[in-house]
């Protein structure tokens, strides 16, 4: 009976209405289709890397490739981690990333607060200037910097690379933190001031607790950016290579198992971190998810 009702109402529609419904369906199907395609484009390589990283070295070399890590084996990963220099490079990467995270957040937090709260002269120019740093190709920055560092006896040092990474990550970190502060309503700060806080106390008791998760997210994102950065790392270090620089340097001399395992090893921390802070990164692009 219900089916009959549906068809009769369908029949009740005129041609224009039916066309509109069909057009809407088509639109929806194509949007979903596109979304699925884009997702596959990104996810398939990640899946492949993961599968290969946990297959035996023989399986990695064989064709056709497996679609799942069966038989499961940590042999490839172990081989990668045992390779000379990998652990030192990992350690370097972590030191650089932590240093970058600390310095970048320490600079970006007050800057972001100022941008989000105060209408100072040249505010818009300053914002644009921050972004403009990103427009500089790293090559143009890194080569003269490498020379300069050599003159100052700072070349091939982990902390000089961290300085470079701080410069590279600051724009993004500042903008993310600014958006985090902007999402804390000014009225809350004003209420704190009315009810007995000075500016510092209002910040510490009200703004900071509310902004802290967002700032943490920005810091983690900074960590990931530094962790993944390879170009400056190659130009500014020689013996004290970070992990991506170390892997890239020997990439063409290594076999597939090394590449897949290295890729996986690089990928996982980034993916995990980004997964936890994704909400705050979306905020930066104006999509409020609350």
């Amino acid at each position: 009976m219900s089916a009959g009702t549906v068809t009769s109402t369908r029949r009740g529609l005129d041609a224009a209405q039916r066309r509109a419904i069909r057009a809407r369906k088509l639109r929806r199907v194509s949007v979903y289709g596109l979304a699925i395609l884009i997702s596959l484009w990104i996810l398939l390589p990640i899946w492949l890397i993961g599968t290969m990283a946990f297959s035996t070295r023989a399986d990695v070399r064989s064709y056709p490739k497996h679609v799942a890590p069966v038989p499961f084996s940590t042999e490839t990963m172990e081989f990668f981690l045992d390779t000379e220099g990998i652990l030192t490079a990992t350690q370097n990467s972590i030191v650089v990333a932590v240093f970058t995270l600390t310095l970048s957040t320490a600079i970006a937090a007050p800057t972001g607060y100022a941008i989000s709260r105060y209408l100072f002269a040249g505010r818009d120019a300053f914002r644009l200037g921050i972004l403009a740093v990103r427009a500089f190709p790293i090559v143009i920055l890194a080569v003269p910097l490498a020379e300069q560092f050599r003159d100052w006896n700072m070349f091939d040092k982990v902390y000089s690379l961290a300085l470079m990474h701080t410069a590279l990550t600051l724009p993004t970190t500042i903008l993310v933190i600014a958006s985090v502060f902007a999402s804390v309503p000014v009225e809350l700060e004003e209420a704190a001031k009315v009810f007995g806080c000075g500016p510092v106390a209002a910040f510490r008791r009200v703004v900071l607790p509310l902004a802290l998760p967002g700032i943490a997210a920005a810091a983690i994102f900074t960590f990931v950016m530094s962790w993944n950065e390879v170009f400056a790392a190659i130009l500014l270090t020689l013996d004290n290579r970070t992990l991506p620089a170390r892997i890239l340097y020997t990439l063409d001399k290594s076999g597939d198992p090394f590449k897949f395992a290295g890729g996986f090893f690089m990928l996982v921390p980034s993916l995990i971190f980004i997964f936890f802070v994704r909400r705050y990164l979306f905020n930066m692009w104006g999509q409020i998810t609350k």
């Binding site: 309503p185 809350l188 001031k193 009315v194 009810f195 106390a201």
Partner: protein, 371 residues
């Protein structure tokens, strides 16, 4: 004792003058409403009293202290914000206790105060909740409880009810009025809702373009606006305005709407006579005209355009010359659109307004007295 005195306050934002040389005294324990359309400077003025925005020039006194440049925390004020501004990372208890904690009040006393404030607002059962677990109306109560818990002598309220839905607003209005009357606190209340202003304030300061046009009791502001804008802003429907021409007839002033002559009250005759031949604006409220079904000597014949039965009254829209006016009648008054009726203008209910300045004309005696 906490009298608020604002003296010649000026505040500009770039080229816009938000508050234009405003002086206002709010007496101890008085409830003054700042009323005006958005952008009239009422919130800016309130923020100058709160210390959240400093005036460019002028003075703000609370009690007998000059607080013009003091930070908010040193002014002895409390405030309710339009967006409530309750702290989302604190439980209701800590929100209400916030001001007390900042004063370093001993814990037992603080708990008692929070409890008392919460009970006044009927939220004593929610003290353990976070604001996100509460409805808009309840959050509003938290904001008010936080503001009264500190027992400041001055309470500032910035459109505290405007985010509530209509029914809740009506309920909260009466409750707030009772509460504030009990607390005997000096209050400045900002709103753009004229009904809220009429219902709550001891006095209403009507603002426009950064100036206070009139500051009087609700009934005075309603009945005898000093300015055409005030009459047109306050009241539902707002005051009606008609063009009339002053003419001398048998030695006395009459104001003619077409051929129909309005008779001013005796005190106004001299003032109007000085404007013989000029056009003045006649202001009269919808409920102050008397509608008749038959012709009468002292009534003007008009055509009804629209009839709106509103339950407690019938609201008629009427055209007189080029002016459209509203007349409120008893719900039993039977009338249909496009029919003619006759309306009477009681002399004592008519306000006379200068066409160019928009200012209400005063009796000659009063001008002499005040001048």
């Amino acid at each position: 004792m906490a009298e608020i005195r604002i003296e010649n306050a000026v505040k500009t934002f770039g080229k816009v003058t938000a508050v234009d040389n405003v002086s206002l005294t709010v007496h101890d324990q008085e409830f003054v409403v700042l009323l005006g359309p958005s952008g009239c400077g009422k919130t800016t003025l309130l923020r100058a009293v709160a210390g959240l925005g400093l005036v460019d020039s002028g003075r703000v006194m609370i009690g007998n202290r000059d607080v013009t440049y003091l930070p908010p925390k040193d002014r002895g004020i409390s405030m309710v914000f339009q967006s409530y501004a309750i702290f989302p990372h604190m439980k209701v208890f800590d929100n209400i206790a916030f001001g007390l904690k900042m004063q370093r009040m001993p814990k037992p006393q603080m708990i008692a105060r929070v409890q008392q404030a919460a009970e006044l607002l009927h939220i004593e059962n929610f003290l353990d909740r976070y604001p996100s677990q509460m409805s808009g109306g309840q959050r509003q109560r938290v904001a008010v409880a936080r503001a009264i818990a500190v027992q400041a002598e001055v309470l500032l309220m910035d459109e505290p009810l405007s985010n509530l839905d209509a029914l809740l607003r009506l309920e909260m209005r009466a409750e707030l009025k009772r509460l504030l009357a009990e607390l005997k606190v000096t209050t400045i209340y900002v709103t753009h809702d004229q009904i809220e202003a009429l219902s709550m304030g001891d006095r209403i300061a009507v603002m426009r373009d950064g100036k206070i046009l009139q500051c009087d009791s609700p009934s005075t502001v309603y009945d005898t606006p000093t300015d055409r804008f005030v009459g047109g802003f306050i009241g539902t429907p707002p005051m009606n305005f008609l063009q009339g021409q002053v003419r001398r007839e048998n030695g006395a002033a009459r104001v003619f709407i077409g051929d129909f002559g309005l008779i001013p009250v005796p005190e106004m005759l001299d003032t109007l006579l000085t404007r013989d031949g000029e056009v003045v604006v006649v202001g009269i409220r919808a409920e102050n005209m008397e509608a008749l079904n038959q012709p009468a000597e002292d009534a003007l014949q008009v055509r009804v355009l629209v009839v709106e039965p509103l339950g407690s009254q019938n609201l008629l829209t009427i055209q007189i010359g080029s002016d459209i006016i509203k007349v409120s009648t008893h719900p039993d008054f039977r009338v249909a659109p496009d029919k003619d009726i006759w309306i009477r203008f009681p002399s004592d209910k008519i306000r006379w307004i200068d066409r160019d300045s928009g200012k209400t004309l005063l009796p000659a005696v009063q001008i002499a007295a005040s001048g």
